[in-house]
């Protein structure tokens, strides 16, 4: 129990990931699949963001007073910015994927007049 509470961020991301995976594989409606895909990607973003966070840490900007001698820098006082920066890129990627997926959904709707997967399969037979 202790370890579950201590690592709650990991449990949240696993839960979100499973919800996304379930929606992607089991849902019949294409837009619901896309929403599942978005949740899945967000879960990974949450995972990365949480590993960079620390308790009682501030943003990683080192303040210099004019002419002051640099104070000793304690890493524990600053959050790790790298995972957050990486996730800016990953967010851009997931927005791109979402855009492409929705565009394809639109194309499918225009051609088959439905977004339900079994109806489309029927028309393809």
């Amino acid at each position: 129990m202790q370890s579950i509470l201590a690592d709650y961020n990991y449990w949240i991301y696993i839960l979100l990931m499973m919800i996304g995976l379930y929606a992607m594989l089991a849902k019949n409606n294409l837009v619901k699949k896309v929403i599942g895909m978005s949740i899945f990607q967000t879960a990974i973003i949450v995972f990365y963001v949480s590993i960079g966070a620390k308790k009682h840490a501030s943003i990683p900007i080192i303040a210099h007073g004019h002419g002051a001698v640099e104070a000793a820098i304690d890493v524990a006082h600053y959050a790790n910015p790298l995972p957050h920066v990486l996730m800016l890129t990953a967010i851009v990627v997931s927005v791109g994927t979402l855009g492409v997926a929705l565009a394809i959904c639109l194309g499918i709707y225009r051609r088959y007049n439905t977004l339900e997967e079994d109806d489309i399969q029927e028309q393809l037979q």
């Binding site: 699949k33 990607q41 990974i44 995972f47 492409v100 997926a101």
Partner: protein, 498 residues
């Protein structure tokens, strides 16, 4: 000679910037799109060849983007193996772009600027994935490749949209697993630079998180390369893609994913970890055996020529994954050589399929009837590609298969050898059936009468030239494969293996 020193970055930047240029010029006049795209890819090809020559002469190249030293900055690392893959990727793209000129005019006349923009961006992604030495940068380029690939496939005929949608869903799962694996590595090591990871990881071999990271990355790349049973998205996506897009996507995307798997295995984890500590070797080789056999059997069941080729790709992916996991240096050599050979063989067969679609309007096996008399040059080139796929010497396919079989014997994994032989046999049946249809069956119309007289009616010259060049390459690479192995591949195979 500063321009030569910049070659590793130029081969990515040239197509990246040209993608914007193609798009803008396409607004003015769509006639400009093809020459700009072709020039850009030729530029990449030239830069790749220069890089390969420099690597052979001076050894591994480290290029620091923006001058930041690793592990803080992103680093491009070119060793013998990825220099070879770079030349292959840019060469295949060059041939595919030459082929696309006429094909795209017929299949997608009103989407030419979009097609070439995506085409050039896809090449950028593939080359970037190959050249980078940073695990996260690789993810970004993986997604650039995937996104452009989805869009290119969705441009195809009737069923392409649905196929592309399935590819989006599965491709995203694959890329996300890769990203998650990299996240695990980052938590444990605090680094994303591949060389840096290789140095830090040995102290952490006993940690479970590292093993999970390896599994996640492997599953991610396996989905991307359509390793059986994760191949579900591939056959439909590649069958219904526009011919010209198929010529680029089918030979390269799976092969570059195999390259990534080998790169992660050898340059992030080490040969020692993946073959001995992880204990996955046996399982993966068995999975490869199943992939090869299933891919071959599924290929036999097809009546659609392009779909048959896509199942052969699934089988070929099994060759390379199995070869890489045999834990023998000969097997690894075979897998690396097969990346090059398989890219060229697949390109040859997909260009042929594109020509058939151009001339006959379909890609069923029956559409191939009577082609030997109508298109002797095309069919000769196809025969070379088919023989290479079966593995008949002196074509390239024979030599990589030979290394793979020797590797299987060295490693004592005879089931893998049997799978390779069975698959060669199935390929022989498949291609001789096609040769028979194309040679002896006259083309019938709906009333059962012969509709066409046997007048030579070849494809346009801009389609024939790439096909002939690729077919010649298959023979030339076959003849020089010993030199390629001793001068290039040997340097990248880790010592200390069987």
């Amino acid at each position: 000679m500063s321009i030569v020193k910049q070659a590793p970055v130029l081969l990515v930047i040239i197509p990246l910037l040209s993608a914007f240029l193609v798009n803008i010029l396409g607004l003015i006049n769509r006639k400009y799109c093809f020459p700009v795209a072709a020039l850009a890819i030729f530029g990449s090809f030239a830069a790749s060849v220069i890089t390969l020559i420099r690597v052979i002469e001076n050894g591994v190249i480290h290029y620091r983007l923006g001058g930041w030293p690793p592990p803080f900055g992103i680093e491009y690392v070119v060793d013998h193996f990825n220099a070879l893959v770079l030349v292959t990727v840019s060469f295949v793209s060059l041939m595919a772009v030459l082929f696309s000129k006429e094909s795209i005019k017929k299949e997608l006349p009103d989407k030419i600027p979009q097609f070439y923009t995506l085409f050039v961006l896809l090449v950028t992604g593939l080359l970037g994935m190959t050249v980078t030495g940073d695990a996260f940068n690789l993810y970004v380029l993986l997604e650039i490749t995937a996104l452009t690939g989805y869009a290119l496939i969705a441009m195809g005929d009737n069923r392409a949209l649905v196929a592309s949608f399935n590819y989006v869903i599965l491709g995203t799962i694959g890329a996300s697993f890769y990203l998650l694996g990299v996240g695990h590595l980052y938590i444990m090591t605090g680094s994303l630079n591949m060389a840096d990871l290789l140095n830090i990881l040995p102290g952490l071999y006993s940690v479970n998180a590292i093993f999970i990271a390896l599994l996640l990355i492997l599953v991610g790349t396996w989905i991307k390369m359509a390793f059986f049973p994760m191949h579900g998205w591939l056959p439909n996506a590649y069958t219904y893609a526009p011919s010209a897009a198929g010529c680029l996507v089918a030979p390269l995307v799976t092969k570059v994913s195999v390259y990534i798997m080998i790169r992660i295995m050898l340059s992030v984890f080490s040969a020692e970890y993946v073959y001995e500590v992880s204990g996955l070797s046996d399982t993966v080789v068995w999975m490869a055996v199943i992939a090869i056999i299933s891919g071959s059997i599924l290929a036999l069941a097809q009546t659609d020529f392009k779909k048959m080729l896509t199942y052969l790709i699934v089988a070929e992916v099994g060759y390379m994954v199995g070869g890489a996991w045999l834990a023998s240096s000969t097997g690894l050599t075979g897998a690396m050589l097969h990346i090059v050979n398989d890219a060229l063989m697949t390109l040859c067969l997909f260009i042929f399929a594109g020509i058939v679609v151009y001339k006959r309007g379909g890609h069923q096996l029956q559409d191939l009837a009577g082609l030997y008399k109508k298109m002797p040059v095309t069919m000769t080139a196809f025969t070379v590609g088919a023989l290479s796929m079966i593995g008949v010497p002196p074509t390239a396919g024979f030599f990589s298969k030979w290394y793979l079989i020797l590797g299987a014997i060295d490693a004592g994994r005879y089931h893998f050898m049997v799978a390779l032989l069975v698959s060669s046999l199935v390929n022989a049946i498949l291609f001789f059936r096609i040769i028979e249809i194309a040679h002896f069956e006259p083309r019938m119309d709906h009333h059962g009468g012969e509709t066409e007289k046997n007048i030579i009616d070849e494809a346009p010259i801009s389609m024939l030239v790439p096909l002939i060049i690729v077919a010649l390459c298959l023979i030339v690479i076959g003849l020089y494969s010993g030199d390629i192995v001793t001068n290039i591949i040997q340097h990248s195979v880790p010592t200390g293996l069987l």
